[in-house]
Amino acid sequence: MKVVVLVKQTPDTAELPKVAAEDVRAGKVKATMVINPWDEYAAEEAILLGDRFDADSVAISMGTPESADALKHALAMGVGAAALVDSSDVSGGDLFTTAGALAAAVQAQGDVDLVLTGKQSVDDNSGAVFAGVAAKLGWPLVSGVSKIVDIADGRISVERLVEGGQETLSVPLPAVVSVGKEINDPRYPSFMGIRKAGKANIPATPAGIAANSGKTQWTNIRKPEERKSKCTMIDGASAQEKAAKLADALIADKVI
């Protein structure tokens, strides 16, 4: 069995507030880049499935060659191999062009049974690339999976949380599954793993996307307005007095 895990390189979440609008516009965000935290859960699950079902795992990322650290992180965790889809020449793409290039990279791997992805990227926040990948491959999709129950007889059964409850679904393989953070606790790469990943040779293939093939464009990229109101400190001699003053304010604001 072969499992592909899609990992993206994204800014360290602690540095997101400092991201400048003009850098997003230019496509050159200045921040420490790390593996998208949501994708660590997908990488961990790929490794666990390797143990449970004797599966081979491959991590695939689309990005520039400088951004292969996400793949190295996945390798250091224990994913078997890695491949980069080089996006250096891509211009005017959107989330579905990314999905198309990733789907092609999955196909290039040969007999893949399962594609695992994260819930969303902390920069684009789309939560949609996996749907594009599934649509391009013509495979079923289950999103937001909290547990892989079993893989048997050409089907995978999974649990996921939806509004109003938890459902257990079974879909035929090959399939695309995006995972949520309830699914596991991603391991920290071991020292040995980091050393091995550092030496790994990661093959890169150009994304091969025509210019401006995206169906959507980002325009008027801007910082959100700072909250105008400064914090009003509620003082009082006792907790009761503070509570009463706060209640007055909340009633005046019509929020209660």
């Binding site: 579905f96 926040n125 079923p140 509004e163 109003g164 464009q217 509620i234 209660i256």
Partner: protein
């Protein structure tokens, strides 16, 4: 041409956020000079269809089949595709719930349409949809413009007001569904309903959250948080530190790797205000911070701040609000 809105049904009826989207759909359709259609998919859609007529849809398309009794992505995508064709939709919208997000994404991908996921605002410019998205975990805003004939967006819950129900107008049109159970790839093996007595976080207009500040006596701390929430009719939230420590289950987590919420009132007790927490609640209308450390970063984002011990402030607030709200 039309603006088409998928109205989501759950076991307990229509997901109310769908009406918010339908309400905004009315404005977009008027700006485009086209009609507004609602699509209802399921095994029984009659009650919801009647309701949709009162929220301003010009036509309500019902796609009913026993095979559609339970939500399954491939079946619902096929049905919604029929609705898009039937209504000649150029704009397709749904509430950005778990299901709404994946359904719109799948449909946009299959129909080669542009997608704006989890949009927070929608308008029409030059006869085309423009969506506003919050990206980089609420640190950047961007307009999304489209170059495809069909324009698809999922809409973050509570981005638009609940429309007022009016007199029922609009016609109900049944669209023939030919699919059978065997055409749908997914099987629902089991379905466990969540406890309905809790207010869901993403729908909540008020949220009271607790953080690591309750560590001295976590059980009591979350009892105090829950009592204040119950008094206000609010949902209970938590920071990741509180979830990781096992004080409350993950479904309560607010933030970067939890839920993004936008209530009218967010009360944070014993939460320091880490960037990753702010990413999930920073756009709340009024934020109240209760923290014993006057230097805690949460005060920089809060509307009102109380420096104090949450074990004293929370019960005082609960009893004060009980008086005010006549409970």
């Amino acid at each position: 041409m039309s603006v088409l809105v998928w109205i989501e049904q759950s076991q307990s009826g229509v997901v109310a956020n769908s009406w918010e989207v339908l309400g905004q759909g009315r404005k977009l359709a008027d700006a485009l000079g086209t009609s507004l259609a609602a699509a209802l998919i399921g095994s029984d859609t009659s009650a919801a269809a009647e309701e949709a007529r009162t929220y301003g849809a010009d036509s309500v398309l019902t796609l009913t089949s026993p095979a559609l009794a339970q939500y399954r992505l491939s079946g619902y995508a096929a049905a919604l595709k029929q609705a898009v064709a039937e209504s000649g939709a150029t704009v397709l919208l749904a509430a950005a719930t778990t299901r709404g997000r994946e359904l719109t994404a799948m449909l946009a991908a299959e129909l080669d349409a542009g997608l704006a996921p989890d949009a927070i605002d929608l308008r029409i410019e030059n006869g085309s949809l423009v969506a506003v998205r919050s990206v980089y975990s609420n640190n950047i805003l961007t307009d999304v413009t489209f170059s495809s004939p069909l324009q698809v967006a999922s809409v973050r819950p509570r981005s638009f007001p609940m429309p007022e129900a009016g007199a029922a107008s609009g016609e109900v049109k049944a669209v023939a569904v030919t699919m059978s159970d065997g055409d749908i790839k997914e099987q629902v093996v089991a379905m466990k309903s969540a406890d309905n007595s809790e207010v869901s976080l993403t729908d909540a207009s008020k949220i009271v959250s607790g953080g690591r500040g309750v560590s001295q006596d976590p059980e009591k701390g979350f009892v105090l948080v829950t009592e204040l929430a119950a008094t206000l009719g609010a949902a209970v939230g938590a920071s990741r530190a509180a979830v990781d420590a096992g004080y409350v289950p993950y479904k309560h987590q607010v933030g970067q790797t939890g839920k993004t919420v936008k209530p009218d009132l967010y009360i944070a007790a014993g939460i320091s205000g880490a960037i990753q927490h702010l990413a999930g609640m920073g756009s709340s209308k009024v934020i109240v911070a209760i923290n014993k450390d006057a230097e805690a970063p949460i005060f920089e984002r809060a509307t009102y701040g109380i420096v104090g011990d949450l074990y004293e402030v929370l019960p005082a607030l609960t009893s004060e609000l009980k008086k005010r709200l006549g409970k």
